[in-house]
């Protein structure tokens, strides 16, 4: 029932158009890189200071000076450039990233996103997530539709502290894909559902209103 993580990542990859510059968040979003269609040329940015991120190295080729924003060892490509953190976020804040794909704890019907802290629990920090949602032209969120206890994560309002206000354009969960036409009040619209997911079931498991 519902899509696997890899199927969700594959669905997210369909948001990538030829020539796009893209930042993939830590966790599930990094899987999207495995699903880029042949013939679609994508340049991946890593916000620690790299444009043109390559795949993981072969064992033995790891370079401590070459890591991504998740501190994972990676490789460079023929198109790669390196730059400082200030220059990296100038690029992000300045709106040069066509798309960023991020994980989330909660998404609200108004496009609010919460993915960095749970009050009362240890806070690890927002890293670059607040900058990415404020700067990238389009934000795609990948998250489980419900939490482990079955609670609604796509909600009328976020209950957790926000990462960004009115920033989510596309939401891909294990159950469905939602999209909104603009950030000026357009509601999220159901684009597709995972095989075997009925609309009544989906509405029951969703706190946010959405159109069909």
């Amino acid at each position: 029932m519902g899509w696997t993580r890899d199927e969700m990542a594959a669905r997210a990859a369909a948001e990538l158009h030829d020539g796009f510059y893209v930042n993939l968040g830590i966790g599930m979003p990094t899987l999207v890189a495995n699903h880029i269609a042949p013939g679609i040329d994508i340049t991946l940015q890593s916000e620690n200071g790299m444009l043109g991120m390559g795949p993981f190295p072969f064992a033995g080729d790891e370079d401590p000076d070459l890591v991504n924003a998740g501190k994972q060892t990676i490789t460079e490509l023929r198109r790669t450039s390196y730059f400082s953190s200030a220059d990296s976020f100038a690029m992000i804040r300045g709106g040069k990233m066509d798309l960023s794909i991020l994980g989330a704890m909660e998404v609200a019907a108004n496009g609010d996103l919460a993915n960095w802290m749970i009050p009362g629990k240890m806070v690890k920090g927002m890293g670059g997530a607040m900058d990415l949602v404020a700067g990238a032209k389009r934000i795609v969120v990948l998250m489980d539709h419900n939490d482990k206890a079955g609670g609604q994560k796509f909600r009328d309002r976020c209950t957790l502290p926000l990462t960004g206000s009115n920033v989510v354009d596309v939401l891909i969960t294990d159950l469905a894909v939602f999209e909104r036409a603009d950030r000026k009040g357009a509601p999220f619209r159901l684009v597709e559902t995972a095989p075997g997911i009925g609309l009544d079931d989906l509405r029951a498991r969703t706190g946010a209103n959405f159109s069909e």
Partner: protein, 233 residues
């Protein structure tokens, strides 16, 4: 020039004092000034405010200054890799100011560039915006963030020359060039000290004026935080 020092301890001699603010380059454990951090640890200086994107890990990087309780406050964007940090923070021993990573990088650059404040969209509508001045430009709302100038900047570079020109390597560049501009005094550790004139003038990342002292490190550990590999097909 007189910028070259024999050891990290010598390079920091006379620059450290209790209660000071230190800005450090590095992202995670990548490109951190590990020799200078170790020398600060050995110096016993206390009540530090440390500005760094991350807080190291237990037992390495800035983690060693946390374990020895030399840090009073951190300004960082992400501190998730450090159990001792978590313990001290939850017990109230350590003060913490979160800044979004891009805001932190820009605050450090601004401090170095003589810019006391700038407006950004990052964090508008979040906890980060609370208590900060809001201002509209062309119908959009932004918040005021302030520049950071530290008493001391510590950076790690790949190559340096006796003038203090620095070149960083790959993603070990990260916060280092920005930090190098934001210290009242900047001390650099380098992996290679190269003959004068051998750095490409078009490819120098930190011009000499920013670096007051420089030390050639030995036996860098350069620990990898997340070793990820792919299969050879």
């Amino acid at each position: 020039m007189g910028k070259i020092y024999d050891t990290a301890a010598a390079a920091l001699d006379g620059l450290l004092f209790d209660g000071m603010t230190i800005v450090a380059g590095g992202f995670g454990l990548c490109g951190i000034p590990e020799k200078l951090i170790a020398a600060i640890h050995d110096s016993g200086v206390r009540d530090l405010t440390v500005v760094s994107n991350n807080a190291g890990v237990d037992g390495f990087g800035l983690g060693v200054l946390l374990q020895s309780r030399q840090v009073k406050k951190m300004i960082a964007s992400y501190v998730g890799e450090n159990k001792e940090f978590e313990r001290q923070y939850l017990s109230g021993e350590l003060d913490l100011e979160f800044a979004p990573q891009g805001t932190l990088a820009e605050r450090i650059r601004a401090g170095g560039a003589g810019i006391p404040g700038f407006y950004t969209k990052t964090g508008v509508g979040t906890l980060i915006a609370e208590g900060k001045e809001h201002k509209d430009f062309a119908g959009e709302t932004y918040i005021l963030e302030t520049g950071i100038v530290a008493d001391l900047a510590i950076v790690h570079a790949w190559r340096g020359d006796l003038y203090g020109n620095l070149v960083y390597r790959k993603t070990a560049r990260n916060f280092n060039p920005n930090a190098a501009t934001a210290g009242k005094v900047t001390v650099a550790e380098v992996e290679e000290l190269v003959p004068e004139g051998s750095l490409d003038p078009d490819g120098i990342h930190t011009p000499s004026v920013y670096v007051k002292r420089l030390v050639l490190g030995q036996d860098f550990e350069k620990r990898i935080e997340q070793r990820t590999v792919r299969e050879r097909v």
